[in-house]
Symmetry: C2
Subunit: 657 residues, 2 copies
C-alpha cells in the first residue's frame, strides 16, 4: 500500500507511451490514458489477478476499457506486463495490420477481453462477463473449490454513461446484485463538446444508487493512489451489489492543455510533448523509452499472476479427481466443443405434419436441446410469452435473495432492454463458457444494432431469437437447421427470424438441406421460372405452382432461409439451386433490397406494412398464389428476349475478403 | 375538483370501449387503458387545453402515449371528445385501412401527436416536443403576448423506462430544465414477463431525481382522482424542472384478471367482459355503448377548448398588429414554407476549386443558410468539432440559469445520446415549427435505428448530418444539393453521409444534376462500361478512366449520391444515366448490398474495415484506379456473350406502393 517514486515512474511511463504512440500515429486519444494512468496502475498492480503468459487463464480477472478510444492506456499496460505486445507494436499504433488498432479489438490483441470503442458497449459487455462468471461459479464451484471467483473491472467515462445501452445494462446489473462487477467512472468533466456541463449534469452516483449499486467517490484520482486502492478493496468487500467508484481526474494530466477537450482526441504538439517529458523526468529526445526498473516492477506482478494460475491449475487437478464429470464438462465448454451427438435431439418433421408457427418450433427445439447443452443461457427482452424462449423447468437467473431463481439459473429476464441484452450477450460470449441467446421481435433487433454490429465484428457466438417476422423461417426442419447452424458457428452471431403465424411443413425441407442456407423445395426439369423465397412466403410460392400450371407454366421453388450460409456453399451447388437458362423471381413480404443478388426480378414490399389481421395484409399486398403467378408470368415474358439468361450466381469477379 | 358519479361513468366508458374494441379485433391491449382511464380522464378534463375541431391548434397542449400499445385509451378519448373519429372507427380497431391501427400513428388519426408503440420512443418524442415549445416560446413570445405556453404531457409505463433511449432523453430533459414537460409513470408492476420484480427493481423516482426532475407519487391511481389532479397542478407550478408523477395503478382494473399480465396483451374473455360490464353498471348485452351524458360531459370540455383557441386567435390578431414580421414568420413556419429565394444562399463550386472534405462543405452550407432558415435547429451527439455542425455566432439552447446559452438558442448539445437525439428530433419535427438536424458519425446512426425507422414511418423532416463515412458525398455541389433536397422534403427524413477526408470537385457536378439523386459525371458515347459510384469513390472512378484508356477501353462515370431520390426520377432520365447496351460496374468501399439494383457487377467491401490511415486502407482493398480498371475489364469480358445487355433500370413489373 505504500507507494514510492517507482510507482510514479510507472504511471508516467504509461502516460508517455500514450503520448508517443498517438504522436507517431498522428492520431488517437492521449487524454484518457494520461488521466487514468494512476488508476490503471493501482488496479493492475494491487487488485487484479492475471497471467500475461496466458491471457486466456479461465479464472483471471477481466478488465474492460469501455472508453475504448483511450486504448493506448491498455496497450501500454499489456506491453509493460509482458503480454505478446512488443514496443514495436506500440510504435505501429493505428497502422494497417498492427496489433494496436485505433480502438481495442479482442481478436487483434492478446489481453483485450472485448472490442470497445462505440460508447456504452464496454460497460454493458462487463455486465455480461459478470453474469457469466456468477452463473459459471454457481454451476461449477463446489465446497472447498472456489474455482471460479474472478472479478470484472471496467473503466468508463462520461460518454459511456450518457448512452442508453449503458443505462439498460447498469440497471439490470443492479437488479441482479452482481457483486463481482466493479466499475470505475472517470469523472474528468470533459467530452468532445467541451465541459460536461453543456449536456450532462445528472448526479451520476445518485443514479447508480437508484439502480441498487454500491457507490464511492475518490476525489483526487490523479494523486491519491491510496484512496483508490482502499475504494477498490471496499468494492470487493461488497458482495451483494455491483460497485462504482467515481474517480475525479484531470484529462491529459501533465499536458499544457490538461483539463480541456483539446487533449481528448488529438496528439499533443511537439513542444507540449517535450514539456511533459521534462516535467516527468523523462529524456525529451527519446521516444518509447521504458526504464528497466519499470519493466521489472510490472514483471514482478506478472510473475505473481503466473503463480496464481499455477495454484489454480493445482486446485483444478484436485477438482478433477473429486468432480470428474464437472471438470470434463468445464473443459469441454472452455474448448467450445458441443457434446457428441447433441444434434440428435433436434426435432425432425415430415411434410404431412401440421402447420406450426416457427416461433413455436423454436420453442420445441429449445426444449429438446436445453438439457443436452448446459452452455446455452437464454432469455428475452420481456417477451418470453411471445418469443417462446423459455423451456419447461427453467430456473431464472436471479439473485437467490429474490427467491424467484438463483445464480445457477439459465433463464435471464432482461427486461425491455434490447440493446442492453445484445451487449450483455456479447459479454457472456466473451467470458468463454456459454452460448447466449435472447429473444425479441425481429423489428426490435434494430434497437440493438450497435451491439449486433459488435457481435459480428468480434465474432461472438450470440443467437437472437427474433419472432413476429413476416419473413419467418419456413418450417420445422428449417427451424431445427437454423439452430444447428447457430449452435455450431462458434465465431458468428445469428439472428433466427421466426413467424408468429402457423406455417406448413415443406416438401424436401430436411435439416441436411436447410443447413446449406438454400435448397430446392420443388424441382421441375422443364421449368420456365424459378421462384425463390424465404419463410412464410415459400408455402405461398408452392401454392403458386398450381396457379401457374393452369396456364401451362412450370415453376421451380427454392427456399433460401439464410443468404450468408448459402453464399458459403460451393458454386456448383449454388448453380444447381439457381441454374442458368430461366429467369428467377424472388418473393418476400419485405424490402426487395439485396434480393437482386439472387434473382432477376423481385416481388417485395418497399414500404412500411399496415395494421390488420395478417391474412388481410397478405391479400392487400397481393402475396397470394395469384399475385405471385401474375409476376412470374411478367418475369418470363420480360426475359424471353435475352440470351443467354445467366444465373446471378455467375459473377465477373470475386470480392476481396 | 369535486368528482361525481358522472366522472366514474366517463372513466368506465373509456374502459368498456377499450374492452369492446380489443374484443371485436380479437387482439390488442386492454390492460393499460383500463388502468390508466382515471388518469386520462382527469388529465384531459382538468388540465389540458385542446380543440377537437382543430387538432393542429398551435398552442394546444400535447399528449403522448408512450406506452402506445394502450392506444385504445387515447382512441376512446378522441372519439368521446368529438375528434374526427367515429364509433365505427373504434369498431374497426386494428383493421386494414382503419383510422385506429394497433399502435397510434400520427398520420392516420386526428389528435395523435406522434407515432408510438416501440417502447421508449414516446417519452423521448415528448422531450422533443417540449424543447420545440420552449424554443418557439423564447423566439416568438413578447411582453404581453404569452403566445406559446403549452405543456407536453406523456404517459409511460415500466417498459418505456427500461429502454435506453428513454434514459437518454430523460437525462437531457433534466439538464435542460424543461418545466413544460409532465410525465405520468403508470406504476402497475406488470410487464409481459410478469411482475416487474423479475427485472426492474430500480427506484424510479430516485433515478428521475438524479436527472434533476421534480417527482411525486400518487399512491391510488385507480380511485384518488383528487390526488392526481393536485399532483398535476403541482407539476405545472414547477417551471424550472420537468415533472414526473408516479401513479400506482392496477392494470386491467375491473377485470377478473386485474393486476396480472394476462390482461396486458390479450382481449378479455366473454364471461369476464360480461362481469366487468355488470360491475360498472353497463348493459352486458351491448357493445360500444356510450351514454348521452358521457358525450355531453366531454363535449363541454371540448367547447372550452374551442373557446380557448378562439381567445388565442384574438391574441394572435393583436400580435400581428404589433409584431407583424414575427407573426408572418410564425405562419410561414407553421405552413412549412421555406423563405423565398433561400436556396440562393447555397454555395456553388467549380470543378477547379480545391478538394475539401464534405463534412467541411456541410459546415459551409449550414453557415450560409442558418440565418435564412430560423426553423433550422441543430446539434450533435457530442461530436460538434468532428461533425462540424455548428455555425459562427451560434447560441446554445440551454436553460438561461446555466449562463452558457438560453432558450432561444438553436444549437442543442445532445450529449453522447444518438438514439435519444433521433427520438427527440422526431418530437421537435412533430411540434411543427422547426426542421431539426443532428450530427454523429455515420456508423453511429445505427445506435438510433429505432428512432430513424419512426422518422420514416411518421414522415418527419429530420436531417442526420452523418460524417466520417468512407462513402461520403462527393463534392461541394453534391453537398449543397443534399441540403437542398433534405430541406425541401418536408415529409421525409434524410441522412447526409459526409466524408472526413478531402474530396475533389467533380466535372458536371451541379446542384441541378445532384438533386436528381444520380447523374453523369463523365459521358462517352462509345463507352465499353459504365462505372457507377458514390461519394469518395467517384473521384477514383474518374481517375480510372485514364487507366482504362491506356488499354483502349472507354468508360462512362456516374455519381449516384442518393438511391431513393434517383428512384423517383422518370424512367427516361434513369435510362439516360444507366443506359442499355454496356455493362455497369458499381464501386463503393462498403457492402455491395443493394448495388445489384443499379449495376451488373459490384466492387465493394463485404467485411469490416481496418484500422489505419485512409490512403493505406484504400490501397489494401484495391480501391485505386488500377483496382477499379482491373474489375471493369473483367466486367466487360464477362458480359460480352450476352445479348441484349439490358440496363437494370428495366424491370419486368413495378412494385406496389
Amino acid at each position: 500500500m505504500a507507494y514510492t517514486d517507482l510507482d510514479t515512474k510507472c504511471i508516467n511511463t504509461i502516460r508517455i507511451l500514450a503520448i508517443d504512440a498517438t504522436s507517431a500515429a498522428n492520431s488517437g486519444h492521449p487524454g484518457a490514458p494520461m488521466g487514468m494512468a494512476p488508476a490503471a496502475h493501482v488496479l493492475f498492480q494491487k487488485a487484479m489477478t492475471f497471467n500475461p503468459k496466458n491471457p486466456k487463464f479461465l479464472n483471471r480477472d477481466r478488465f474492460v476499457l469501455s472508453n475504448g478510444h483511450g486504448c493506448m492506456l491498455h496497450y501500454a499496460l499489456l506491453h509493460l506486463y509482458g503480454y505478446d505486445l512488443s514496443i514495436d507494436d506500440l510504435k505501429h499504433f493505428r497502422q494497417v495490420g498492427s496489433k494496436t488498432p485505433g480502438h481495442p479489438e479482442a481478436h487483434d490483441t492478446p489481453g483485450i477481453e472485448v472490442t470497445t470503442g462505440p460508447l456504452g458497449q464496454g460497460i454493458s459487455n462487463a455486465v455480461g462477463l459478470a453474469i457469466a462468471q456468477v452463473q459459471a461459479a454457481a454451476t461449477f464451484n463446489k465446497p472447498g473449490f472456489d474455482l471460479l471467483n474472478s472479478h470484472t473491472y471496467v473503466f468508463l467515462g462520461d460518454g459511456c454513461l450518457q448512452e442508453g445501452v449503458a443505462a439498460e445494462a447498469i440497471s439490470l446489473a443492479g437488479h441482479l446484485q452482481l457483486g463481482n462487477l466493479i466499475a470505475v467512472y472517470d469523472d474528468n468533466h470533459i467530452t468532445i463538446d467541451g465541459d460536461t456541463n453543456v449536456s450532462f449534469t445528472e448526479d451520476v452516483l445518485a443514479r447508480f444508487e437508484s439502480y441498487g449499486w454500491h457507490t464511492q467517490h475518490v476525489k483526487d484520482g490523479d494523486n491519491d493512489l491510496e484512496a483508490f486502492e482502499i475504494a477498490l478493496a471496499n468494492a470487493k468487500a461488497v458482495t451483494d451489489k455491483p460497485s462504482v467508484i467515481k474517480l475525479t481526474t484531470i484529462i491529459g494530466y501533465g499536458s499544457k492543455l490538461q483539463g480541456t477537450h483539446s487533449v481528448h482526441g488529438s496528439p499533443l504538439k511537439a513542444d507540449d510533448i517535450k514539456a511533459v517529458k521534462e516535467k516527468f523526468g523523462f529524456d525529451p529526445t527519446k521516444s518509447f523509452d521504458v526504464a528497466p526498473e519499470v519493466y521489472a516492477a510490472y514483471q514482478e506482478t506478472a510473475n505473481k499472476g503466473a503463480a496464481a494460475e499455477q495454484a489454480w491449475n493445482e486446485l483444478f487437478d484436485e477438482y478433477k479427481q473429486q468432480y470428474t464429470l464437472e471438470a470434463e464438462e468445464l473443459i469441454r465448454r472452455f474448448e467450445k466443443r458441443l457434446p457428441e451427438g447433441w444434434q440428435n435431439s433436434l426435432p425432425v418433421y415430415k411434410s404431412d405434419d401440421p402447420a406450426i408457427a416457427s416461433r413455436k418450433l423454436s420453442e420445441t427445439v429449445l426444449g429438446k436441446v436445453i438439457n443436452t447443452l448446459p452452455e446455452l443461457i437464454g432469455g428475452s427482452a420481456d417477451l418470453t410469452g411471445s418469443n417462446l424462449t423459455i423451456w419447461k423447468g427453467a430456473v431464472d437467473f436471479q439473485p437467490p435473495s429474490t427467491k424467484i431463481g438463483d445464480y445457477s439459473g439459465r433463464y435471464i429476464r432482461y427486461g425491455v432492454r434490447e440493446h442492453g441484452m445484445g451487449a450483455i450477450m456479447n459479454g457472456i460470449a466473451a467470458y468463454g463458457l456459454h452460448i447466449p441467446y435472447g429473444g425479441t421481435f425481429l423489428n426490435f433487433v434494430s434497437y440493438a444494432a450497435g451491439a449486433v454490429r459488435l457481435s459480428a465484428l468480434s465474432q461472438h457466438q450470440v443467437i437472437w431469437v427474433a419472432t413476429h417476422d413476416s419473413i419467418g423461417l419456413a418450417d420445422g426442419n428449417e427451424t431445427s437447421a437454423a439452430y444447428y447452424v447457430a449452435l455450431t458457428s462458434h465465431h458468428t452471431p445469428s439472428v433466427l427470424c421466426l413467424s408468429r403465424q402457423n406455417l406448413p411443413q415443406l416438401e424436401n425441407s430436411t435439416i441436411a438441406n436447410a443447413i446449406k442456407g438454400g435448397y430446392i423445395v420443388h424441382e421441375d426439369e422443364e421449368a420456365d421460372v424459378t421462384l425463390i423465397s424465404t419463410g412464410s412466403e415459400v408455402g405461398i410460392c408452392v401454392d403458386a405452382i398450381k396457379t401457374l400450371a393452369a396456364d401451362g407454366i412450370k415453376a421451380r421453388v427454392v427456399s433460401l432461409p439464410c443468404w450468408e450460409v448459402f453464399d458459403t456453399q460451393d458454386k456448383e451447388y449454388r448453380l444447381s439451386v439457381l441454374p442458368d437458362g430461366i429467369p428467377i423471381l424472388s418473393v418476400e413480404v419485405y424490402t426487395t433490397l439485396g434480393w437482386e443478388k439472387y434473382s432477376h426480378e423481385q416481388f417485395g414490399l418497399n414500404r412500411f406494412g399496415a395494421s390488420g389481421p395478417y391474412k388481410d395484409i397478405y391479400k392487400k399486398f397481393e402475396f397470394t398464389p395469384e399475385g405471385i403467378a401474375k409476376r412470374a408470368k411478367a418475369t418470363i415474358d420480360f426475359w424471353k428476349g435475352v440470351t443467354p439468361i445467366r444465373s446471378p450466381i455467375n459473377r465477373a469477379f470475386t470480392q476481396l475478403i
